[in-house]
Symmetry: C2
Subunit: 381 residues, 2 copies
Amino acid sequence: MTLHWRLMGRDGAARAGVLSTAHGEVETPVFMPVGTAGTVKAMTADAVRATGARMVLGNTYHLMLRPGAERVARLGGLHGMMDWHGPILTDSGGFQVMSLSELRKLTEDGVTFRSHVDGTKHHLTPERSVAIQHLLDADVTMCLDECTPFPATEEQAAVSMRLSMRWAKRCREAFAPREGYGLFGIVQGSTYPALRAESVAALTAIGFEGYAVGGLAVGEGQAAMFDVLDCTCPLLPEASARYLMGVGTPADILGAVARGIDMFDCVIPTRSGRTGRVYTRRGVLNMRNARHADDTGPIDPECGCPACSRHSRGYLHHLIRAEEMLGPMLLTWHNIQYYQDLMRGIRAAILAGRLAAHAAALQAGWGGGTGTTEGHSEEAR
Amino acid sequence: MTLHWRLMGRDGAARAGVLSTAHGEVETPVFMPVGTAGTVKAMTADAVRATGARMVLGNTYHLMLRPGAERVARLGGLHGMMDWHGPILTDSGGFQVMSLSELRKLTEDGVTFRSHVDGTKHHLTPERSVAIQHLLDADVTMCLDECTPFPATEEQAAVSMRLSMRWAKRCREAFAPREGYGLFGIVQGSTYPALRAESVAALTAIGFEGYAVGGLAVGEGQAAMFDVLDCTCPLLPEASARYLMGVGTPADILGAVARGIDMFDCVIPTRSGRTGRVYTRRGVLNMRNARHADDTGPIDPECGCPACSRHSRGYLHHLIRAEEMLGPMLLTWHNIQYYQDLMRGIRAAILAGRLAAHAAALQAGWGGGTGTTEGHSEEAR
């Protein structure tokens, strides 16, 4: 049996489930910390586990360039190399090829580009992307697609989406079925409902173990993103996991779960942690702010992470100002802890049939600044 | 009762003992990881504890400038702020004033300087240094001294040392006796045996809870350093702890223990870890070296740290090359673990009366060198 997802409970369109993989089970909705180049930045694998995170994401683009997919395989696959023994999802590499590489050229066959690391030339096809993800030993392999830029005309979005659908078929054919492993198709079509519907139809005709909604979180804004989910999620198969790629803030995740999404990844908690921004039950704080310098209280009194349970805001402010590595380490830990706590709370609320009330309480906390927070609105993407 | 040290066993001039402080007991010989600005760089307090380290060092100069001594006191003292509940030794600030600050001016009263952080003007006297270390809540306070530059003429060294001795008396008078806290005097006199003897006599006439040998590890080389220890250690009181400041490589420490030193601190394990250099039972490795890229073995098969027990050399090489923060985190952890294991092994050998054989075995492992570890075969497995 390949990777599969089963429903445990629902509340409106929101779903609580369990994803079963070769490396264990994961409760959904799930947030996957991003382990870009074989490490969740500034975190040991033990620290990631301590937050309750059970599944992480790896970036095919980064790993194929350095240390190289074949080398990762020789070093024990991504799980062994990273000391991460839970499930791993890898992206296809397509998104970063478009955003990071140089001299890229897209054809029907695939995409040719130069590495941003050392200028070497690479050719990525649907078949090669699947092969790389196999070498990495990803539990969830993502189809290579073209992440349609935003904004795009309906014609541009259609051409781009249809190429991704042809590539999805090639990925399906290239993917070797293995017990506990699966391949996810990616719905494209920009903000056009008819194209999203066409994309869902194309993917479900092929058949995948899960379905991602792609081409979002690229500048369209939260309202447009939710509109796409409103028209797309109802079309997706009930029995498979749904993954919203690259999303998002706590408010984005909350809204997407309410619309039927089960899986998330985003660099926000890790990247923000490195720059001193932290997510709390009372909104977002910038720990660089001088107002924290003499504050003996914790970032978030309800959080059990080491930054909150053992250190003061004043100390964390000092670490960030002094550019001590422990600052990013502790703040990243806190942010990942916050995201994991957020997901656990949302899942419990779905199972209890009280998601709407839970969402209202979360939003009141984020927006109900008490003068010790800097407001959640500040963090809008 | 103030801080005290008691002898548990000896082997030649080498001593095994226990230092009793307000924050617990520490077995000596001890290596104190350096927590410069209120953090052992790239390490959580839990990670430092996990290596077996029981005492750390803080830098008065860094802490007085940022976050400020009064602020550290408000944030719970250095112990509370760092989440480090074992003993802490702080230096006096004098060494970094001379090496890092700008526009410094030395008088009989003290030293005036500008902060390298923000250009603010500060005046550090023996009394202020002791007061700052009290605010930091250091278990061991160090006397403010002038670290005599190397090389120095005998006349220069004498003038400098005698100023330090007058300052030592002022520090003693300024220090408030407290249960479990103590003040250490610092022997100066450069490489001149007569001056070292004069300095010891001056300090022992004042009386301190411990005695440091200062002005070494400043470019004089290992042989000259050992010569100074050979002439100084026999003059120091038998009943007090002896601390060699800022030393050193594993070979430096081994030689100094054999000459009667009990306490050490050095940035080598932390700084080296951040640049990819690791200390092992088989010598020093540079993890940036391409030969490690496909190596599935550990840095040191006998080491129990996370870098060695869970990861390959190939992965650690990748992390350092990719400039991932986890590289410095894991390599620093390894180096501190190595230093702690080194000290435990040395202490056990002293108590068993087999230090010479143990030292020979360590040196054979490092590559047969009797000089500094730097001289060992760079890439010996």
